[in-house]
Symmetry: C2
Subunit: 376 residues, 2 copies
């Protein structure tokens, strides 16, 4: 096993043709050549988001776009609801508080999905809530939320619906417009299979009204500046040129087979991986598992971080660990972006080898067999 | 002339070995392997900045780091001085105003450098000024400011000294610590010869005191978050991994010959280019020309943008145009980063060809000859 397999929920492997495209000689960004690339990348992104809204590209990590989804639509003292069931839900709350926004937390047990009824009730009790913030896939717990159902609740109110699809997009089902999402926040290094460094926001007409009313200070992430440039197929500040070139190629790849088929393929890989875990006697952490990433409980007596270390150093396979209270207790394996069937099977093979080395008892090969049955 | 020459003041050409390094398979950022790269990149940057202060790396364009240099050290209603002699000086003022900071402008004629005495006077009249913002090289006018002399003035006061070295670093002289700079703001796509997408801030002990007092809201660009991660050789949010890998290679390249020799080499190229312009009968726009980029007045009867278009489409050489009121009046040619002697000579050859095509009268070959004399 000389080949290395990166199975983390971001960054994901960047396909070789995309890496080569980004390695070409540098070009200038205020040129027709680059404008055409930027336009294709943006149009391709819109198809993947399933939106007719504008989708802006920021040079930042996903957190930058999360901040953009707060500072552009709120004012000091505004009230928002934040679904907090993991590290990324928590982050929305931290950003809001940093800007003097009042946060009503919907605390969800890590690994569980929020109940739409609870959000409905809170919105009824607090008709002045300006926006609801949630994740599609809470990466830290590998849990997918029912964004469609929550959308049904929010649609009936004046509140904006802001969804972090950073790790879910391209693996978990997502319909920006049909589900009534006002701002979807995304990053480049997950389902979009390019390196980290770009982040995106879709912005609905309802969100634009909030932008007009918003008084929070902003400059670098100011939607209005992006909109003005966007209408000229440009960005207000120097684009991360090579990453946008990679993005164009990546979205072409996704859209060539269609976003629905892409999602189905990753869902199938997730299913195969979970079947392998079951066959090996392992249990899944989440009660609502995402198809972008699976969190697996480390078996009794084995520290997940030891398993991850062994996999990385001896077998060339990189898994992610648990975060916060889950450290040492779970390992996380991604199914998104550039991760394909070969990755999934090789990861399971390596997992079996590592588990055996750590003294875990199981029938060798059953994990791979269970996965292959689904992927055949 | 099949080879293309990118002569714009950002992005600059990225050397092939750096591009190839960035095109290797993706790695995860929370690993020892990446930490070592990040550490080398940061230590290398510090040598180029000539500082013993921390230098933080943001995933953003240079404007993001400009914003960081404002939101981290100021509070609403604070007063600052901004040197405004071009587009990037103006931007500092715009960001400050967006955050409710009061701005005292030092308006400098485009193409001129500010007089340190004026800043000294203003600081005396306004002892409550919290910081002075200026550029090292004002890219839009290709003008270098006397940062050392302004530093002497500010050193005697409580005000912070914030310098945008985005385009100047690596070509114009710069001494972060000796010149008393509290925050130097930089970007990746100029003298550091990697693609756009990273930005940097050095932060002095004096600046840290202001950080403690600052009340402006911030999250993504919060220095304290970067400091906490930095001390663990990490970033608070996902790094732009490939760009940091490129940065490590780029700073190694600069530091292999030393920053002083690197600057001397680019200053020599700038000198050669200006000598060529003189030989061709062209005049330089700036009264204080930068060595990072030269702005050249278009000769009478020729629109600079026509010249630029001809150079790009027919000769494969990309120059930059004038911005704002200078549009059509000047063209700008860079000497920084991956731009070497070959680039400089080929750019002059192309300039001669283009000028001849547009009917400008001069003795062919005199520009190249004048430059070669200096570069021999």
């Amino acid at each position: 096993m000389n080949k290395k397999y990166l199975m983390t929920p971001g960054p994901t492997p960047v396909p070789e043709d995309i890496r080569n495209e980004m390695a070409k000689p540098m070009i200038h960004h205020r040129t027709k050549e680059y404008q055409a690339i930027f336009k294709d990348a943006t149009e391709g992104l819109k198809k993947i988001f399933k939106t007719s809204n504008d989708v802006f590209t920021f040079t930042s990590s996903g957190t930058g776009a999360m901040e953009a989804s707060i500072v552009n639509v709120l004012s000091h003292g505004d009230k928002v609801i934040v679904v907090r069931g993991g590290k990324f839900g928590e982050r929305f709350g931290e950003i809001a508080k940093a800007y003097g926004v009042e946060v009503i937390n919907v605390d969800v047990e890590w690994g569980s999905a929020p109940k739409p009824e609870i959000i409905a009730e809170l919105l009824k009790k607090n008709p002045d809530v300006k926006a609801v913030y949630t994740t599609l896939c809470e990466t830290s717990t590998a849990t997918v939320y029912d964004i469609k159902a929550i959308g049904e609740v929010i649609k009936k109110t004046d509140a904006l619906y802001v969804v972090d699809v950073i790790s879910g997009l391209g693996a978990d089902d997502f319909e920006n417009d049909k589900w009534g999402v006002d701002i979807a926040v995304c990053g480049s290094q997950k389902g979009l299979m390019i390196p980290p460094g770009l982040a995106f926001c879709s912005v609905s007409p309802k969100a634009w009204k909030a932008v007009e009313a918003s008084k929070l200070p902003k400059f670098y992430f100011n939607f209005k500046k992006y909109k003005k440039a966007y209408d000229d197929t440009d960005t207000p500040f120097t684009s991360a040129i090579t990453l946008v070139i990679g993005l164009k190629k990546a979205v072409e790849r996704v859209n060539a087979q269609g976003i629905d088929k892409t999602i189905a393929e990753h869902q199938n890989q997730a299913k195969a991986f979970r079947a392998a875990c079951k066959a090996l006697g392992l249990t899944i952490f989440s009660k609502s598992p995402s198809s972008a990433v699976t969190g697996v409980n480390a078996p009794a007596g084995i520290n997940a971080d030891d398993l991850i270390k062994l996999l990385k150093t001896e077998l060339g396979v990189t898994f992610a660990g648990g975060q916060g209270d889950l450290k040492g207790k779970i390992f996380r394996v991604a199914h998104m972006g550039g991760i394909d069937r070969e990755h999934t099977i090789e990861a399971i093979k390596a997992l079996e080898l590592a588990l055996a080395k750590l003294g875990y008892k199981f029938k060798a090969g059953t994990g791979v067999e269970a996965a292959q049955k689904i992927l055949k």
